[in-house]
């Protein structure tokens, strides 16, 4: 059973409780090297087609991160994250057409406005839990999709919606001046994504993260331990929506043109599927999820295989994750690799003497 006093002490704990150990440092070094490789090496190695795909991976890793925080940390399942992404992209596009604000400021403002919208979506979460919350976010996503279909994405027009009704002379959504080319914009997206991951990690390591963990295990127990569950749940929605809104801003610049059919409600379901497959409990899971969601279709498209196979694969993947591997690929893959390694080692050991005997 949960020890309430213990729980409360854990949540109030100051961070850092101890000095970072050698393990943490090694992990940080690995992350830094990987990041440097992605920033400097990858654009040299890849064709433009794959650089575009990897930009999408960077965008969706943020979206998956947002959903991962909700699902993996707080235990709130949202089936409307793609609608939140659409809000972020819409706001960013509107700001980019209307103002000449520098891009990072636009991203920040888009993130903040989306955060407010996301908190409105999250309001039912204060009353509803589990199943009902998931279903109500599915409904809200559907409603947002209908509104977007009517309002349309800004395309350089005037007025609040910024939609000029024509589909002929559409100016592209601008990119930051330092990153107008595709490889440069890819680097830009990766840097933004890295910042968002840092933001999420900082939350998870400190008091909100511990409060979320307590809420995930048992909301009544968390409440009894003196945790303001309302505040922290709303906080989680705010953080997830902020990250998703920023991702929307990056997406707007990446694709230049936005259309409401680009954000169908089924994408929210696919997103949940890949987040569960990647692993909602780990930050790496978000990156795996984004690779599954954006890189695999690009690869399949290149090979001439229909992307519908992926939808089927994701469906099977969800069923597999839920029945046998709840922590997803981020947890399962290293374990399975280690097991495979041990198996091969054992096999080699068994073969070696018999091989000698055969001579």
């Amino acid at each position: 059973m949960l020890d309430v006093a213990d729980l409360s002490a854990t949540v109030r704990q100051r961070w850092p409780p101890r000095r970072p150990g050698a393990r943490t440092l090694a992990r940080a070094a690995v992350v830094a090297v990987l990041l440097l490789f992605v920033l400097l090496g990858l654009p040299q190695l890849l064709s433009l087609y794959y650089i575009d795909a990897m930009t999408q991976v960077a965008v969706y890793s943020m979206v998956a991160l947002g959903l991962g925080v909700l699902v993996g940390r707080v235990g709130l399942v949202s089936l409307g994250q793609v609608a939140v992404l659409a809000i972020g992209a819409w706001v960013a596009a509107r700001l980019l057409f209307a103002t000449s604000m520098p891009y990072p400021v636009v991203l920040l403002v888009a993130g903040l406005i989306t955060m407010v919208a996301g908190m409105l979506i999250g309001l039912p979460a204060l009353r509803l839990r589990g199943l009902y919350l998931a279903l109500i976010t599915l409904m809200l996503a559907g409603a947002i999709t209908v509104v977007l279909k009517n309002v349309n994405f800004p395309n350089g027009g005037h007025g609040f919606t910024g939609y000029n009704g024509s589909s002929v002379h559409i100016p592209p959504i601008r990119r930051p001046s330092v990153a107008s080319g595709d490889p440069a914009y890819f680097r830009y997206a990766v840097v933004v994504a890295a910042l968002m991951f840092l933001l999420a990690a900082a939350h998870i390591r400190t008091r909100p993260g511990r409060a979320w963990a307590a809420i995930r295990q048992s909301e009544p127990a968390a409440l009894a331990a003196g945790i303001n569950t309302t505040l922290y749940k709303l906080w989680a929605f705010a953080l997830a929506s902020f990250i998703t809104g920023v991702a929307g801003g990056v997406l707007a610049g990446a694709v230049h043109y936005l259309y409401s059919i680009g954000f169908p409600p089924q994408d929210s379901i696919t997103l949940l599927a890949v987040v569960l497959m990647g692993g909602a409990y780990s930050l790496w899971g978000a990156i795996i999820a984004a690779l599954l969601l954006q890189l695999l279709p690009a690869l399949l498209n290149n090979w001439g295989v229909s992307a519908d196979w992926l939808t089927i694969l994701f469906g099977i993947g969800v069923l597999q994750v839920l029945t046998t591997a709840p922590a997803g690929l981020a947890d399962q893959a290293p374990k399975d690799l280690a097991r495979l390694g041990r198996l091969l080692l054992a096999l080699a050991r068994r073969l070696a003497p018999s091989g000698g005997a055969a001579k």
Partner: protein, 297 residues
């Protein structure tokens, strides 16, 4: 503001649509009560059944055989899913069970996109022989399909109500809704009752898919996500009462269609189920009692 005349035909079509939503909603509530699963693949199996029927009918198979295959397909797929994943997830949270059915939805959705390509832009349709106008009520033409839509909705609601009350299998399902373990202890073959619920729900999904393919459109995405409308009705009834589900479904169908003639709102009428369900849930959950009882475990 449109006149009363403009609204009249939409009352009929709204009631027909609501009837089919009720049919789907009742199927989902019964399955949820018996097994604890919110079956989100309801629309997808119905859609695939309808597409198979369409292909068969196009290949020259007589219509009734196609419809039968549609209903049978939905029933068999649902039963198979229930038999394989029902026991594996029996002890898990209702949320996990619901998300797992999203897995099935994705599989079916991918298969439909793969087998019945939608990019060509050709539109498919199932026309039931009941589509010709049946009779007039005042100035309004009514087709038999619309009559069947509402009629089946009423019949299924009443029939299911009676079934749960008077038939042994029905009372067993209600018992399982209360407590699965105790029901099993009392000697009820729990697995068999669950199988019956899955099969029944699947058959209803097939029937709903067929009717909606005719009343709305035969399109994988549309039909798959129409389930959300019936889901809204079940949510308003808190996944418990089938009478409330029926009423809510009719209301959703009516409001949706009655908004059509109002120009400023007609493009937003697809929001009806979402708005109604969200409002209802927020009102219902106003007084929340926090427990650590079954609902959370």
């Amino acid at each position: 503001m449109p006149s009363w005349q403009d609204f009249q035909p939409f009352i009929v079509s709204g009631l027909a649509l609501g009837g089919v939503y009720a049919l789907s909603g009742v199927g989902m509530v019964v399955l949820y009560q018996a097994t604890g699963v919110v079956y989100l693949a309801f629309g997808a199996v119905g859609a695939m059944g309808a597409l198979i029927a369409w292909s068969l009918i196009h290949a020259g198979v007589p219509g009734w055989a196609g419809w039968l295959v549609c209903v049978a397909f939905a029933g068999v797929v649902t039963l198979a899913y229930g038999m394989v994943f029902g026991p594996a997830l029996a002890k898990r949270d209702p949320l996990v069970k619901a998300v797992a059915t999203l897995g099935l939805t994705l599989v079916l959705f991918g298969l439909m996109d793969l087998l019945w390509t939608t990019s060509g832009g050709q539109s498919r349709g199932i026309t039931l022989p009941t589509d010709n106008p049946a009779f007039m009520i005042g100035q309004i033409q009514v087709t038999w399909t619309q009559v069947i839509g509402l009629g089946v909705g009423v019949a299924i609601t009443v029939g299911t109500g009676a079934f749960l009350r008077y038939i042994k299998l029905g009372t067993a399902m209600r018992a399982m809704a209360n407590d699965r373990e105790i029901t099993a202890t009392l000697g009820v073959p729990v697995r068999r009752v669950e199988a019956a619920a899955w099969l029944g729900c699947g058959v209803l999904a097939g029937a709903a898919g067929l009717l909606l393919a005719d009343l709305v459109a035969l399109d994988a995405t549309t039909l798959t996500f129409l389930v959300i409308s019936s889901l809204a009705a079940t949510l308003i009834a808190r996944l418990r009462s089938i009478t409330l589900t029926f009423g809510a479904a009719l209301l959703i169908g009516l409001v949706h269609d009655l908004l059509t003639p109002i120009q400023s709102l007609s493009t937003y009428n697809d929001m009806t189920p979402f708005v109604l369900a969200a409002a209802a849930l927020l009102v219902i959950s106003r007084r929340r009692v926090m427990t650590r009882s079954r609902e959370e475990a």
